[in-house]
């Protein structure tokens, strides 16, 4: 009997193909099967009828509104921040760089607790805000704050690296042509990085939409006020199972839409250095 490694070239190649196919199928099914199972758990009729469930509707509305606001704030503050951060050397830049990435590795529940310790009713800042009758924790605003904390790195990292990679010759040329820094930012820098910025924004939106841990800690789980879709899924699984599945399916569909959007945008040519 010949050993496998002494076998002719052809059969060794066959073995490699079989092995590769097995691994590809294994990984694909591991990731796809649970998601597919969601869709088979309830009938389409049941799915569509529970879409009009007030619990589903209020969670969907709250999630979309808060995620859009979070994204807007991240873009408005994050774009100029990332620009200045990537173009200027300042003391402590390394620390800021690390802090930007921190929420990516920090467990979201910890982020929520941290926000609560700072802004909660008896928190370091929260107790003073409380004197003026301002409450942050367990409000819709807290949902947005939690989402921004957890989701902003996706946009900031992307924007930072795009601005670092953009060939400075474009901006230099625009300056010699007499354009003001603001005009250059609007007509050269942003358009040349736009597709990358949008894909960063889409990822941020997706992360904000899926936020669970920090939200439940810092904002709680009040229907209509702080109960976003992921929280409603959690509640649904303990009570109205169909509602939980319906919202889960909605989140899967939105996630797919986001990934397709990022794929399309990422395939666009970015004129860099």
């Amino acid at each position: 009997m010949t050993r496998w490694f002494l076998q002719p070239e052809n059969s060794r190649r066959t073995l490699a193909v079989i092995g590769a196919a097995f691994l590809i199928i294994l990984v694909t099914f591991y990731l796809a099967l649970p998601v597919a199972a969601l869709f088979f758990r309830i009938t389409p009729e049941l799915f569509f009828s529970s879409l009009s469930d007030p619990e589903v509707q209020s969670a969907l509305r709250l999630s979309l509104i808060t995620s859009v606001i979070s994204l807007g704030i991240v873009i408005i503050v994050g774009t100029p921040f990332a620009y200045f951060h990537s173009r200027t050397a300042y003391p402590g830049k390394m620390i800021v760089d690390t802090l930007i990435d921190l929420p990516l590795v920090l467990p979201p529940a910890v982020a929520g607790v941290a926000l609560l310790v700072l802004y909660g009713r008896v928190g370091f800042i929260g107790r003073y805000l409380n004197l003026f009758g301002i409450t942050l924790a367990f409000t819709t605003l807290a949902v947005i704050m939690a989402q921004i904390f957890v989701a902003s790195p996706f946009y900031l990292r992307q924007a930072k690296s795009l601005f670092e990679q953009l060939d400075p010759a474009y901006e230099h040329t625009a300056r010699t042509l007499g354009a003001s820094p603001l005009r250059i930012f609007a007509t050269i820098t942003i358009p040349l990085t736009a597709s990358g910025l949008v894909s960063g924004a889409v990822m941020t939106f997706g992360r904000a939409l899926g936020e669970f841990g920090a939200t439940i800690m810092f904002a709680g789980n009040l229907p209509g006020v702080t109960q976003t879709m992921p929280l409603a899924v959690y509640v649904g699984m303990e009570g109205n199972f169909i509602v939980g599945i319906t919202i889960s399916i909605l989140l899967v569909l939105i996630s797919f839409a986001i990934m397709i959007a990022v794929r399309i945008l990422a395939s666009r040519e970015v004129p860099l250095a």
């Binding site: 060939d167 474009y170 230099h172 040329t173 625009a174 010699t176 042509l177 007499g178 354009a179 003001s180």
Partner: protein, 231 residues
Amino acid sequence: MLEIDIHKQLRDFPLNVNFQVKSGEILVLMGENGSGKSTVLNSISGLVTPDTGLIRLQGTSFFNSEKAVDKPVEDRNIGYVLQNPSVFPHITVRENIAYGLKARHQPKDLVDSRVNHWLRVMDIEGLARVKGGKLSGGQKQKVAFARALAIEPGLLMLDEPFTALDTESRQYVQEAVRTSVSDLQIPCLVVTHRVADALGMGDRVYILHQGFNRWEGRPSDIAAAGMHLPT
């Protein structure tokens, strides 16, 4: 007239340059890589600040270390064609050429007529609606010339501007640049490492070596002076 007398400590040696370029004159700046040529151009454009010295165009100070004058880049009105032509890839050739004029808030009629003029001069009328990113290297350089000249600059500076052009286009563009410099009566500074370019369009040559002036004279005298330059 452009007057420059600057000093700047570079990493390996101090840069000391002192020369004038008359209106309508083309001065060719030569020297090996890292001899300080680009620093000279960038100091004049304002992208780099010299340590000390003076830069003046038609009597107006761009830079004067004694009087603490350092005019912002965007106010110097220089037509600068960089080695990498940096044609804005996301807008059309027409919009590229109009960019400087629009930044100066020129009326639309003037913008259109200037853009049409330079499209014609550079022989790129057929490319007017093409996006900058779709051009070949030679086409980009022509667009960069048209864009730099369309603002009717007070000074024209070209940094290795002919590298992507074939012989025929090179002659054509050099002639167009010479005519424009003479028509606009502006000083022109060209950085190149090709002796042929210096002979082809320069009125005077200034050779830099490790930050100081090694030779200055007429292009036709380069060989006689025993200057060994990379070709």
